[in-house]
Amino acid sequence: MRDRLRRMDPGPTPPKAVSRREDREIPRGFRALEDSGGTTYIRSSEHPRANLDPEALEGLALLTHPECPPQSPSDLVALDLETTGLSRGAGTLAFLTGLAVIEEHRVRTLQYLLPDPSMEAPYLEAISRELRERGHLVTFNGKGFDLPILSGRFTLNRMTPPTFIGHHDLLGPARRLWSSSLPSCRLTALEGSVLGRDRDGDVPGSEIPARYFDYLADGRSDLLDEVVHHNELDLLATIDLLFRMVRPLSRPSASPEHLAMARMAQAAGRQEIVEGQLKAATARARDDAEYLESLEELALYHRRRRDYARAVPLWMVMVSLMESGAGRISRDVAPYVELAKFAEHRLRDPRRALRYTERALHFDPGGSRSRSTDTVALHHRRNRLLRRLGEGDDVD
């Protein structure tokens, strides 16, 4: 049989002895936690941080809008896994589970290492004990990856997967806040561009599974140190990103961040936050593009509340800005259309509505607007207004 197997599959990796668990080193910084089911390695470290703004918790609810917002920073736990592969099937093991919790003036990271695949039950039990204390999970892409894998491990060990009041996956909000201004929204990229921290000499993600396989095979823990460090950095980046994400709520930030925050607040039904964020977005605009975009959103906000006294001047500002050259940036005729609608339906002044419509039709800064849907709609509007005014036949 052995010969047939070898012939079938010539040139496999040279066999290596597999170390016994007892002979393996305990990786640096870890301690063994023994319980009836076996051993788990745990590493706990503290990282000084300023206390979380009280508003930040509210902001978190706004970013990821769960039904019940966290009540205190200690409700939160960040999670990040290191796994033996990227597939989400039952054979992918989470060999290192990193948790981070927020304490007074610091963040505590708790890292659980699986000493051997046969000891998964006590390992999961230890993780579960810590998670049970916290109602709110914070991850970066945890909905797509970490949580399904971790839950699968519990199911596979016939244990109940942990449940949470809220799962705050920061990947979505990060994209909303930064995808327009940054080339990448991966965690390490944001760590560099948003948090201003560079990771030098970080172990590449693709090497991580092999490091664990090697540890099991030869029992030497030094290769794991970098993986543990990588995991810790990911956890801290997740927590710091969370702090950073809610900053526009309490402190002046870049205009696109205020705008994104306003949109998320709108989606979460938090009207009281929207207006302030939009005003901040207009105030912090660095150029015409940012200014126009926030004006448009602010006008829309007022219009939704039927506050035309505030919306109309904003549209007029937009129109004059566009006609004075900012049209290079936005050729969107929406403000004209809004003004025309306002004139027709609110002021009942079709003549004025027609004037805005005509201006919209003339507004063609690039000189290249063909019969786009915009133009077609404008012509319809103009013709309808003309008919209403009884000024004769269709001109077009």
């Binding site: 197997l5 012939r7 597999v18 668990r21 597939s87 099937g89 054979g91 093991l93 596979l156 095979a217």
Partner: protein
């Protein structure tokens, strides 16, 4: 003329009559009923509403067995209402216990779609409330989660089970904790390599079900094969109750065996079966009789389709074969059901229970290789109570000639056995990796299975698994199911790209294994009767680039094969010829191709194929001719005889193996490096072998006797493609020597010289 009138005309036609070697008319048969078992009132009344007052006897038996908790396999003819046998018990179970789950497996996505419609109709008939879904590669990601949680009936295929469900079983907890039924439809398709894979997938399924504490019962349905129970039992590994007496009514059916006339007696050449079939099809289709023609190859299907379209330009005739894209197939199936399409030229791609409605007549161009396939193809004609006609036109291959000249053998022979070899080492190891990925192996599982333990230890040494505490854990980055295709040795298909127009477009695909034969440079690839010439075959990128062309020929490739013996597993040394079974290394290389003219089928020239050889380790049966046997022949005679035997045995062997000719390679060595004597190998064409070589080792005597019969009874003088091959290829003495060798080996020395 209607079909009855046409049958009368054919019966009295002198020329047609001379070519008919067998004509069997089966009288209509009245239905036999059984009692409906006690089921939920909603089901009983739904059956009445749908016109089923009483089930047929076989349906009643199957339902009773399943309701009692037995595994049941139903093997009754096409259109006898097999699906009802399991749909009713499954619905009964779910009505009684809503958390119960059933998994339906169909060999193809198309069949799954068909059946989903039928199951949906039943669910509607009982007033709804049961969630049934198809789950396959086309299922949108957005609905997968709810199917996993709430699907009471999940309809899928073995490939999806293999890559999409089992490796993700933790997401299917509801299904696996409550799995009551597994339905295996079209059981007979799970044989050979595919069946051996599926047997392993089913073992993985049972292993996962056990883990979650369920033990489903299995219901299988099969077309007519010799051993439905044995096949079901070896696929599932559990005992089955067999239901094979059909109670369904049958209409009058004519089955005709037809042998094309000899056009050159000396060379033993008969008129081409394609041309002969064309003439018969012209009469059928010309009279408005909806007919299906089954051909043996993709090339034949396109050639015959071109002929028919030319002579019957106004009749809607289509092709149907592997390589057509799914949307096109669905459209053709629909056209056949509505009757809009009057004729179809199909390969065995249409053999499965794809729903195309009832047709009046079936014409088989050549024996499809197994009795089971022949019955299945012929069964396409004659659903309902109208009479039907099935004609099998023999080709000049030895097998066809043997059958057509022994009609009793054809009509009396029971269909073949479906064989699987779940323990093929390649296949088993592949699936053990998948199984280890799904759940660690435990020492308990290896008890009484020393092979399993050795394999697990081997996989641990190569660091694919990690042994610890009497368990073996998957400890590799990959996702093993992704690398294993259930359908063939290779994982990918070669896509055919037409670059006639500036915008290239994909017109079809061919499996990687066949690609060198069909898509070598300069090959003519025919698709929907349009010819394309292959300009470039890129096996690495899995692409073939073709351009439309209009020529009067098609191409046919040949290849050379060689073997080296690696290990002898069984041997039987004898005086005249020793036989062996063992492992070999097989090297196969396409060498040349012929250009064959349409219509006359004459050879217009040839070309070389420049493609690298493919190598595989497989198993084989081989036979060595000892000096005591060969001493009386000259070396040239031995060579001729050996070549002749090689061709003959390769053609005849499938008769005993229920496999296709292409599942075997035959290699002749005049002086084998292994034995030093003339040696003939018949090799399994799948890596590791799927049991064909071993079966031949046991069947040698029977194989030799039939070969002798074929070569003796052939109408030619010095050999022809219907027995040992063309004399120009194998030598003028080949027929004589091969006959004498076989006569000595079988001890049947009648009329020698």
């Amino acid at each position: 003329m209607n079909l009855d009138q046409l049958i009368d005309t054919l019966r009295t036609d002198k020329e047609f009559g001379e070519r008919v070697t067998g004509w069997v008319e089966v009288a209509p048969r009245a239905p036999a009923y059984g009692d409906l078992p006690a089921v939920d009132e909603r089901l009983a009344s739904a059956m009445k509403r749908r016109g089923i007052l009483q089930p047929y006897s076989h349906q009643a038996q199957a339902m009773e067995g399943l309701l009692r908790g037995e595994n049941v396999v139903v093997a009754t003819p096409t259109a006898s209402g097999k699906s009802l046998c399991y749909i009713i018990p499954v619905l009964e179970e779910i009505l009684r216990k809503p958390e119960a789950r059933a998994l339906f497996l169909y060999p193809t996505k198309a069949l799954a779609q068909d059946q989903r419609t039928e199951i949906g109709e039943w669910i509607e008939a009982i007033g709804g409330g049961i969630a049934s879904f198809t789950y396959d590669g086309d299922t949108p990601a957005s609905s997968r989660r709810s199917i996993r949680r709430a699907g009471q009936i999940v309809i899928t295929n073995p490939d999806m089970l293999h890559t999409g469900i089992l490796p993700h079983h933790t997401k299917w907890v509801h299904l696996f904790e409550n799995l009551e039924y597994v339905i295996i439809d079209e059981l007979h398709t799970y044989r050979g390599v595919f069946g051996s894979h599926v047997a392993n997938v089913l073992r993985r399924l049972q292993r996962i079900a056990r883990f979650y504490g369920s033990s489903p019962r299995f219901a299988a349905s099969s077309a007519t094969i010799a051993n439905p129970r044995e096949l079901a039992e070896s696929l599932v590994g559990e005992p089955f109750r067999l239901v094979d007496e059909s109670g369904a009514p049958r209409s009058r059916k004519h089955t005709v065996l037809y042998n094309p006339p000899v056009v050159n007696r000396e060379l033993g050449i008969r008129r081409s079966s394609v041309l002969e079939a064309r003439d018969i099809l012209r009469q059928l289709l010309g009279n408005g009789i909806q007919t299906i023609a089954f051909v043996r190859s993709r090339i034949q299907s396109e050639v015959l389709l071109s002929y028919l379209r030319e002579s019957l330009p106004r009749v809607n005739i289509r092709g149907y074969r592997g390589g057509y894209l799914p949307a096109q197939r669905r459209e053709i199936e629909r056209g056949l059901r509505t009757g809009e399409i009057r004729g179809v030229v199909a390969t065995n791609a249409l053999e499965l229970g794809v729903d195309i409605g009832s047709l009046d007549a079936a014409v088989l161009v050549g024996y499809p290789g197994t009795i089971a396939s022949a019955l299945q193809q012929m069964g396409r004609a004659g659903r309902g109570d109208a009479p039907s006609l099935a004609v099998m036109v023999a080709s000049s291959s030895p097998l066809d000639q043997h059958l057509v000249t022994h009609p009793d053998y054809f009509f009396d022979r029971s269909p073949e056995r479906g064989l699987v070899q779940p323990d093929n080492l390649h296949i088993r190891v592949s699936h053990l990796k998948c199984a280890a990925f799904e759940l660690p192996f435990t020492a308990e599982e290896t008890e009484g299975d020393s092979d399993l333990r050795e394999i697990l230890e081997y996989l641990s040494e190569t660091r694919i698994l990690h042994p610890s505490d009497d368990r073996w854990h998957w400890m590799t980055e990959g996702f093993p199911a992704q690398d294993i295709s259930l359908r063939s040795a290779s994982t990918g298909n070669v896509v055919i790209v037409d670059r006639t127009e500036p915008e290239p477009r994909v017109i079809g695909e061919v499996d990687e294994f066949s690609a060198p034969m069909l898509l070598h440079e300069e090959a003519i690839y025919i698709h929907e009767a349009v010819q394309y010439q292959v300009e470039e075959l890129d096996l690495e990128e899995r692409k073939a680039f073709v351009r439309r062309i209009d020529v009067n020929y098609y191409t046919d490739a040949t290849f050379a094969a060689d073997t080296a013996v690696l290990d002898v597993l069984r041997r039987d040394d004898r005086e005249l010829a020793s036989r062996f079974f063992g492992e070999i290394r097989l090297t196969a290389q396409p060498t040349t191709f012929k250009k064959i003219r349409f219509g006359t089928h004459e050879n217009l020239g040839w070309g070389r194929i420049h493609l690298p050889p493919r190598e595989m380790h497989t198993t084989a049966y081989w036979m060595t001719l000892e000096p005591t046997l060969t001493a009386r022949f000259s070396p040239g005679e031995v060579e001729s005889g050996l070549m002749g035997l090689r061709n003959l045995m390769l053609e005849v062997a499938p008769l005993f193996l229920s496999c296709d000719r292409r599942d075997l390679y035959a290699v002749a060595q005049i002086r084998s490096p292994f034995t030093g004597h003339p040696t003939l190998y018949l090799c399994d064409a799948y890596p590791g072998g799927v049991g064909l070589g071993e079966a031949l080792f046991g069947l040698e005597a029977e194989l030799q006797r039939t070969c002798l019969q074929v070569v003796r009874e052939c109408v030619c003088t010095d050999g022809c493609p219907s027995c040992i091959g063309a004399p120009a290829e194998v030598g003028a003495s080949a027929r004589r020597i091969a006959t004498r060798i076989l006569a000595r080996l079988t001890g049947d020395l009648r009329c020698l010289d």
